[in-house]
Amino acid sequence: PMENKPRKWEQKQVQIKTMEGEFSVTMWASGASD
């Protein structure tokens, strides 16, 4: 059943662009490799 499907959370570097400049943060993204 869907409810029992393990959640795959992967840590990933995410690029952010603001008017002051760009930087990257580490976030968790789900199901990316499903």
Binding site: R7, I16, A29, D34
Partner: protein, 451 residues
């Protein structure tokens, strides 16, 4: 104002109800056939997304559209309540978006397109260093997968394509199937036109998983009555296929049938059962097995009506159908069974009826009695097809449950329009489905006040 894509004229918008404390929608995970249901458990309150920032000055030439980060604070059906980062506990600018749309993006989406994040005007002076603020708020937080948009697109793709030929239950005579062609597809719902339909007829709508659809050659294989051009009948008889034939690979097991004929070995002509009336889905009726077909199908007749001597009132159910029940099902679930024509609720009794008429009930062991943990509860809102006019998808509520059946009530309409539907029916959808796929949603009926 927020940009909406694919707005449809006069389509009902749930947004006004979503902030009501007592509004409960069936979660997306209840609908096995719904788009992105396979990844829905990974979409959570607290997630960060990038979304259009509508709290800004008029668009500049450099950046015609402005985006900012928001947090998901509530999820109802496909709808999510978002709050722009930086608003703290201030809920005044919260807004609803559809998660199954191109309105929301994973964090990082803007940077890949060279778009800078621009803070909403209301809070632009709240922090002096937005870079530092975002870094702190986003580090360690959850967001959508980077392939989210393609997951959404893929999950909405139909297995079928326009122009394919298939066999479909005749909407005007349910005891026969007719050759038809897929004319239009929206949200995996097919609009089919029977081969002999006049061009002005708007055709017949049903979901691609509907048990009313079958592959080319199905009627011949199972022994069902078919209405088709003689050329079609000849080529199917000769086993000749054409490029536009919808073949078995496109269909579900219930649409194809099983090669195991032992499935129907306990069914005999004249046996009695209880069944949903295919022409009045609010009724569960006394019914009779009229014919046993191949591949696990039976033809039944609802005993409530005068018999049609031509057999035009017979209807084909697969023996695994959730819409046929053993004798006693209604009593077990405290539901009113619609008796045969010559009886009333008070005068009908299964035991006496079977002994007086010399009929036998179909063995209870031959029915599909499995009740999945579906998650539906009474009072939950959803979008549901009006199967008496299946072009319409309407605002509806789960009124009652019996085993795996849901009694679906169409908001604003009398109970006589209710429909018993299986919990896994492809004719029910989560709140926000119509908007997501670009299909018109019919709102609750509003009765004009008498003057």
């Amino acid at each position: 104002s927020r940009r909406h894509t694919n707005e449809i004229a006069n389509s009902y918008d749930w947004d006004a109800c979503l902030n009501d404390t007592y509004f409960v929608a069936a979660p997306v995970t209840c609908f096995k056939h719904a788009p992105i249901v396979d990844i829905w458990s990974n979409i959570l309150v607290g997630m960060k997304v990038e979304v259009e920032n509508t709290d800004c000055d008029n668009a500049s030439e450099t950046f015609p559209d402005s985006f900012w980060v928001a947090t998901v604070t509530k999820i109802i059906g496909y709808k999510a309540l978002l709050r722009y980062e930086g608003f703290g506990l201030n809920e005044t600018k919260d807004f609803w978006v559809s998660l199954c749309s191109n309105q929301v993006h994973p964090v990082g989406w803007c940077a890949t397109r060279g778009k800078p994040l621009i803070p909403p005007k209301t809070i632009e002076d709240k922090y002096s260093d937005w870079k530092d603020f975002l870094c702190k708020r986003l580090t360690g937080a959850r967001t959508l997968p980077s392939n989210f948009a393609s997951k959404v697109t893929d999950s909405m793709k139909s297995r079928f394509q326009c122009g394919l030929t298939l066999e479909v239950v005749d909407k005007n005579r349910i005891s026969q199937v007719k050759v038809a062609v897929v004319h239009k597809i929206i949200g995996r719902r097919l609009n089919v036109k029977y081969y002999d339909m006049p061009p002005e007829d708007s055709g017949f709508w049903c979901h691609e998983d509907s048990p009313l659809l079958h592959p080319v050659g199905w009627a011949k294989k199972v022994g069902h009555h078919l209405v088709a051009p003689s050329q079609y009948v000849d080529r199917v008889r000769s086993g000749i296929s054409e490029d536009n034939d919808a073949s078995e690979e496109l269909f579900t097991p219930v649409q194809i049938g099983s090669n195991d004929n032992t499935l129907t070995s306990g069914f005999r002509i004249g046996m009695k059962l209880e069944a949903i009336d295919p022409l009045n889905l609010s009724s569960i009726c006394v019914a009779t097995v009229m014919e046993v077909l191949n591949c696990g199908y039976i033809m039944i007749r609802i005993d409530t009506y005068d018999a049609d001597a031509t057999g035009g009132d017979w209807f084909c159910y697969h023996v695994s159908s959730p819409y046929i029940f053993p004798v006693g099902f209604c009593e077990q679930h405290s539901l009113a069974l619609v008796p045969p024509k010559e009886f009333t609720l008070q005068t009908f009794n299964w035991k006496n009826y079977l002994s007086e008429t010399g009929n036998v009930a179909v063995s209870a062991s031959l029915f599909n009695t499995f009740v999945p943990a579906h998650g539906f509860e009474e009072g939950m809102k959803m979008e549901a097809t009006d199967l008496m006019d299946p072009r319409l998808v309407c605002v509806a509520t789960v009124a009652k449950m019996a085993g795996r059946l849901l009694r679906v009530h169409f908001d604003g309409w009398e109970e006589e329009y209710d429909q018993w539907l299986d919990c896994e029916s492809s004719d029910i959808y989560p709140v926000g489905w119509c908007h997501s796929v670009g299909y018109k949603l019919e709102g609750p009926r509003v009765v004009p006040k008498h003057t």
